[in-house]
Amino acid sequence: MFGLTDQPIDSAALHAKLARADAGACVIFEGRVRNHHGGKPVTLLEYEAFDELARVEGAAIVEEAERAHPGSFVTCVHRTGALSIGEIAVWIGVASAHRHAGFLACRQVIEEIKRQLPVWKKEHHPGEEPQWVNCTVEVLPSRLSPENYYERQVSLPEVGPPGQTALSAADVLVAGLGGLGCPAALYLATSGVGKLTLVDVGKVEVSNLHRQVLFTADDIGAFKVAVGAARLRQHNPLVQVEGLPADVTAANVAALVTGRTAVLDCTDNFATRFLLHDACRMAGVPLISAAVYRFEGELNLFSPATPGCLHCLWSGQDAAALEAANNCSGEPVFAPTVGLMGIMQAAETLKLLLGLTPAANFKQTRLVNLLDGSTCAIERNADPACVVCGPDAVQSASAPHGVDISSVMLTAEEVIARAPLRTVALLEDGEILDAGKAPAAAIGIPVKDLAHLRALARERPTLLACRYGIRSAALARLLRREGIDQVYSLIGGLAAIHPRDSRIAADRGFRRHEILSTHEKNARDPSRNL
């Protein structure tokens, strides 16, 4: 609730509004008129508001704080008119389940009021002309203005005023606010990326603190995006930061990435990486992706226009390696590796927004090894048969593009509910259909036999299933774009139906450095079987 009033604020009456059985914390902030400012005595403050806009903005500030800090309920009233010493100018009360969210929400509301609410105050000093606060000639040069904040960056010839304008016009999504996302988001915010959205469902845990540099020991238990957004706003109040406490899923990924200037993949699992990658390619948004294994890091820039995508990168790999890399929780992490790679993601994003990216960078995987100090850039393979970026996919680019991912992806339960669907198991090169791992009626078709798959999907409603649900999703979307309506992909793939398969994969103990060295080998070996 937000209100404006020209009457004295009744603190006790407002306090009563915070009583809630589910609130374990109540945080109250009162902004009061004090008798001095800047070393001068003050006798009176006159507050003036642009009433209509102040009510709209005030309500938006309160709603935003409640959304960013789930379980918090905010009451806020701002005073207008002439106020004498000791009177309350603004009252903010937050009832919340836990104290951390309450303090953060309260802080966010007052800082946003000071930044956004169209309210002005005139200070009266004894024996002097009254002055509008923040509007006098003396305070203007020291104000937190873009001119002052970005002074040392705008003076780079590669940036300049047009570059800074491009940064402030940008709208960037940071998916995952962990070891990569924290430094990446911090540098994007301080560099002046105009709108940042952070998405992560996690809460701050003790074991995060050694590498996730936006969080402190006081933040344990709070939503990462709520703490992170608040901290970024403190670092740079000139940019807009929004935190979404959510997972990236097949149902929301298109909405999350569409319309962004760039997306950073700072997540730690393969399913999300592929979701973000495919959604970005479909929405025409560049993706800046990083991954780490202990002392080694890997950086990829994916442009929607350049062949050589994440599917190409992983085609021909043992799918078990994907599965092994799928579970990074509990993996040992050397903090500077994620710090460095996150900052590299920020640097690549800024370069992209400033038009400084060499075209070759969109085709490379860059590898960094902090243990031996080596770095190298390898050209990524572009698989000519790739269903996402290959010639077939390029041809279909003229077809309607915005395929709703949620309507393509089905869970095993939804498949049963939707029967009868014909199930097609997608086979890798040299693989034969293992009757024990697929539904009885499934037919096996090589994943590269696109003509056959297309003909089958045209005949009747078809469910595509591969081992982990990644290639099938890409194929299903490709066929949808070609106008074949009744084609679906099984979420989680055949492994979701037969968990034994994925457990075996994990037991094989595939490790990230083996995957990285496979990249290198493939890049150097021209005879690699595509």
């Binding site: 902004g31 508001a49 806009l53 009021i113 000071k114 002005w120 105050k121 509007c135 001119e147």
Partner: protein
């Protein structure tokens, strides 16, 4: 500059004092809010630097390069000081 049209302008705080009025019906050919502020500066004696202003059009924050339409309600927002 385009066809002349009527814009409603309101002033608050330091700008209200400089303009000497709280509201004006302003006939203008100004294309954007920036153009309009330049015109008001020249004709109404406003001295506040344009670079430090924000603008609200029809009770929503907007950018200074937003094209103006006939009947728009425009408010220039000097640095705020709530709280």
């Amino acid at each position: 500059m385009g066809e002349p049209r009527k814009i409603q302008v309101r002033f608050f705080a330091v700008l209200r004092e400089q303009a000497g009025v709280s509201a004006l019906d302003w006939e203008t050919e100004a294309r954007t809010a920036t153009d309009l502020y330049g015109e008001l500066k020249a004709k109404r004696g406003l001295t506040f630097p344009a670079g430090l202003l924000r603008v609200s059009i029809n009770e929503r924050y907007a950018t200074m390069d937003t094209p103006l339409q006939a009947g728009d309600r425009v408010v220039f927002i000097p640095p705020v000081a709530g709280g």
